[in-house]
């Protein structure tokens, strides 16, 4: 029994997220239960919370980019992006996502993952471009389609960067694997080899996601049509 106690926080998280309770509250409860089950008193737990929270402050780095996005959107950035995209007939939602995927792969392979990202490029540029391209082809988009396209923009960035940055030999993951090998006394494996073994999965990620994206434009068209049909059926 004793050995399972450290895992107490996991079912709490799953239950809390499934019930859609407030995420911060769920995290606090899961943390408190885990700490309590492992013999931390209230003060020790409070200090542990504070220490770990302070140590994770760099995760709020995206806050630094939000003001300029706010400013540009105030002056109509989204409208301007729409005008640019609409003029290009070949630009469909799926094609823009595919192009972005390849560019994002390149930033990873070259070891520059910070050059793009959810706040830097997806929110201000990619998502409005994808939405505008779909709108130009299919007219006014129903809310669920809009949500789907935005989520696809975010997903595209995550998937492309996750499965490409390990190819670059100085990335944290490769260094972590290298350190693990040294600690375990396994010699003769260079970071370059570790990076090269990342390539098969990177190619598979590209193939799998492109196969999905290839069907996205048709799926949007179908959803828009179904939505219109449902809207025109009177009571």
């Amino acid at each position: 029994m004793q050995q399972w106690l450290p895992l107490l926080g996991v079912p709490v998280m799953v239950l809390g997220f499934a019930l859609r309770l407030n995420a911060l509250l769920v995290v606090l409860i899961a943390g408190a239960l885990t700490g309590w089950a492992n013999g931390l008193d209230f003060d020790a737990l409070l200090q542990l919370f504070g220490q770990k929270f302070l140590a994770a402050r760099q995760l709020a780095a995206f806050v630094l980019v939000l003001p300029v996005i706010g400013l540009l959107e105030h002056y109509g950035l989204k409208t301007r992006i729409r005008e640019l995209v609409v003029r290009r007939r070949a630009a469909t939602a799926a094609r823009i996502l595919m192009l972005y995927f390849v560019l994002r792969d390149l930033t990873g392979v070259l070891g520059m993952p910070q050059t793009a990202g959810q706040v830097q490029t997806v929110r201000p540029l990619l998502a409005p471009m994808v939405e505008a391209a779909a709108e130009a082809r299919h007219g006014e988009l129903p809310a669920p389609v809009r949500e789907l396209l935005r989520a696809h923009a975010a997903a595209c960035d995550n998937i492309a960067i996750f499965f490409s940055e390990d190819i670059f030999i100085a990335f944290g993951a490769v260094l972590l694997i290298d350190a693990f090998l040294k600690d375990s006394g396994i010699a003769g494996i260079t970071p370059l080899q570790i990076g090269l073994w990342g390539i098969p999965t990177a190619l598979c990620a590209l193939a799998v996601h492109f196969l999905r994206l290839a069907r996205l434009d048709a799926a949007i068209e179908r959803q828009v049509r179904e939505h219109r049909a449902a809207a025109t059926v009177g009571p």
Binding site: L28, A56, Q58, F62, L72, Q114, A116, F163, I189
Partner: protein
């Protein structure tokens, strides 16, 4: 001071931006939740504004305790469900839109300046003082890029940084407490580590393996990496635990697997888990909040088919390529 653009300085800047949100939000009289929201953002700014100073002046124990109290207060405020803006935000009259290039230039400056930061500026030194803090390249790059784009935006549109901070309250207000989630979850990951969750997971995974098998340990290593990453929200936390517990004894030593492909692809199995978990908030939950998605799990749902497919492919690749 470790660098001209230091981590400490950027934390202060984050704190100032967040604190100004509290003030800007208060003017939205149409927002029924403006007081709770302002209190929430004011509290959230404290660890950035005073965190480092307090650790120095009060000593770690007292500073951590104070930060812990802030964390609990943030969670309770969020639990009231009234941090997100509700109702009409005050609309400023829409300005005459500037020409396209004036709007796009600052937006494109963000990736361009980041690129410059990670390639050239990172090497720049004034005497012995480096320009950029290299301890945290993402933070530094985002900070420099954010400020440069903001200044360019000021020059090209005439909108001041103060207007920028005030207008970004829509983003803060719509996203609400989801913006604090990455830090809270990293904190929870820290508590899990302190509670030796890894040992329990390792114990659980190993209990299913008998020596001499090959396929089963490969599957358990791959699935274990994904599942434990989903729990921790971070593949780097899962990697040493699962690799030392399963990959090393049962596959590398037990079955003579090649370490390079096994571990490289094992890490990727963890990334498949990252795509599937709300615990990886900065990748999955913050984007959903910033993109104003009604379904907070929509990004994860869109990623799931690719992630599950790749997890299966990865496990198959390990089985084929590592032996």
């Amino acid at each position: 001071m470790s660098a001209l653009v230091s981590q400490h300085g950027l934390f202060i800047l984050i704190g100032v931006i967040v604190l100004l949100q509290a003030a800007a939000g208060l003017r939205d009289r149409g927002n029924a939740n403006r007081w709770i929201g302002a209190l929430f953002w004011a509290l959230f700014s404290l660890p950035f504004l005073f965190g480092d100073t307090l650790v120095q002046d009060w000593g770690p124990a007292a500073a951590y305790r104070a930060a812990g109290i802030v964390v609990v207060a943030l969670a309770l405020l969020a639990g009231s469900g009234r941090v997100r803006a509700r109702g009409e935000l005050q609309q400023r009259p829409a300005p005459a839109p500037p020409p396209t290039f004036r709007l796009l230039t600052p937006a494109l400056l963000i990736p361009v300046v980041t690129l410059l930061c990670v390639t050239l500026l990172v090497k720049l030194k004034f005497g012995s003082l480096p320009l950029l803090d290299t301890a945290n390249p993402t933070l530094t790059a985002l900070g420099v890029a954010g400020v440069c784009a903001l200044l360019a935006g000021w020059a090209l549109t005439g909108g001041t940084p103060l207007l920028a901070v005030s207008e970004s309250r829509r983003l803060f207000g719509a996203a609400g407490d989801a913006l604090v989630l990455p830090q809270m979850l990293a904190m929870l990951g820290g508590v899990f580590i302190a509670a030796h969750t890894g040992d329990a997971v390792q114990h659980l995974a190993v209990s299913a393996i008998a020596p001499g098998q090959r396929l089963l340990p490969v599957v358990i290593y791959g699935l274990g990496m994904a599942l434990f990453t989903m729990v921790m929200g971070n593949a780097f936390a899962a990697f040493p635990v699962m690799s030392a517990g399963i990959a090393l004894p049962y596959l590398i030593q037990g079955q003579g697997a090649h370490a390079a492909p096994l571990l490289a692809m094992g890490m990727y199995c963890g990334y498949c888990g990252t795509l599937l978990t709300p615990m990886a908030a900065n990748f999955n939950m913050v984007p959903a909040a910033l993109l104003d998605l009604r379904d907070r799990y929509k990004v994860i749902k869109v990623q799931a088919p690719t992630a599950l497919c790749l997890l299966a492919i990865n496990i198959a690749l390990i089985y084929c390529l590592a032996f």
